[in-house]
């Protein structure tokens, strides 16, 4: 058996395996002593979500955009104002481009 002694700790794979097996057996014994009067296939084995209806499995995952929920929530006024002009229509974008260009040219001419 290979034992690595670091001075302050020991790494021995066999000890780890034995420990895991012992813990696993203890867990199984503990589990076998649990409540057995559940009726399988009924609501008694459903997920408990504080009494709320549990959505189907495919809708239960956390989307990556949920990570930014607080960010969007705190800046929702800014995002609301920014998203309104974004119609997705090229004509609108070109109109914005021409408008901003005109204002910039006007400022440069007046300031120059």
């Amino acid at each position: 058996m290979s034992v690595v002694d670091y001075g302050y700790a020991v790494w021995a794979p066999l000890i780890w395996i034995i420990a895991l097996v012992v813990i696993g057996v203890m867990v199984l014994i503990w589990r076998s002593r649990g409540q057995k009067s559940y009726k399988k296939g009924t609501a008694q084995t459903d997920i408990f979500l504080s009494g709320a209806k549990v959505p189907p499995e495919e809708e239960r995952h956390v989307k990556s955009e949920n990570i930014y929920w607080g960010f969007f929530e705190s800046l929702k006024e800014l995002y609301g104002a920014m998203m309104r002009p974004h119609t997705g229509i090229v004509n609108d974008y070109l109109l914005w481009f021409v408008g901003v260009l005109a204002v910039t040219v006007a400022i440069l001419v007046l300031a120059g």
Partner: protein
């Protein structure tokens, strides 16, 4: 009281269906050192799936109907429903209010009523013991 069949700790799931919190505070008082029912193995649990007793407070608003039915269905057998307070028993001060679908026994079967507004902790303890005796009878029936 001699429990032979249901001879284990009694776990209770507490559900508030629109209570003013008066009854809920008295339920918590039952757990304080003055009454300390946990020394008898009676404790509140966080999930109906772990519970033997479903303890309901409040008159049951319309929006709570589905939740009450769902939570009741999730309690494993044998189970007992216990209502604490006048509101859950017959509506209390909210009796015949437009927003109510209750009292509780209009939605799920109730086994033990503890009246009061709010009931005293001693009354709640008596109700829990009554529920325990009922569970013993139900457990006996299941064994038989």
């Amino acid at each position: 009281m001699n429990l032979k069949v249901f001879n284990r700790a009694l776990w209770v799931y507490h559900m508030n269906t629109g209570s003013c919190n008066g009854c809920d505070i008295e339920i918590l008082a039952v757990l304080t050192p003055r009454y300390d029912v946990e020394r008898f193995g009676i404790k509140l649990v966080g999930s109906p799936r772990h519970a033997d007793v479903l303890l309901v407070t409040g008159p049951v608003g319309r929006s709570m109907e589905d939740s009450v039915k769902r939570v009741y269905a999730q309690v494993p057998d044998p189970k007992v429903v216990m209502v604490v307070g006048n509101c859950g028993a017959e509506g209390g001060v909210f009796h015949e209010a437009y927003s109510l679908i209750g009292p509780v026994d209009q939605i799920i079967p109730v086994d033990v009523y503890v009246p009061g507004c709010p009931p005293r902790p001693e009354a709640i303890i008596h109700g829990v013991v009554t529920a325990w005796v009922k569970l013993e009878k139900l457990a006996k029936q299941e064994v038989a």
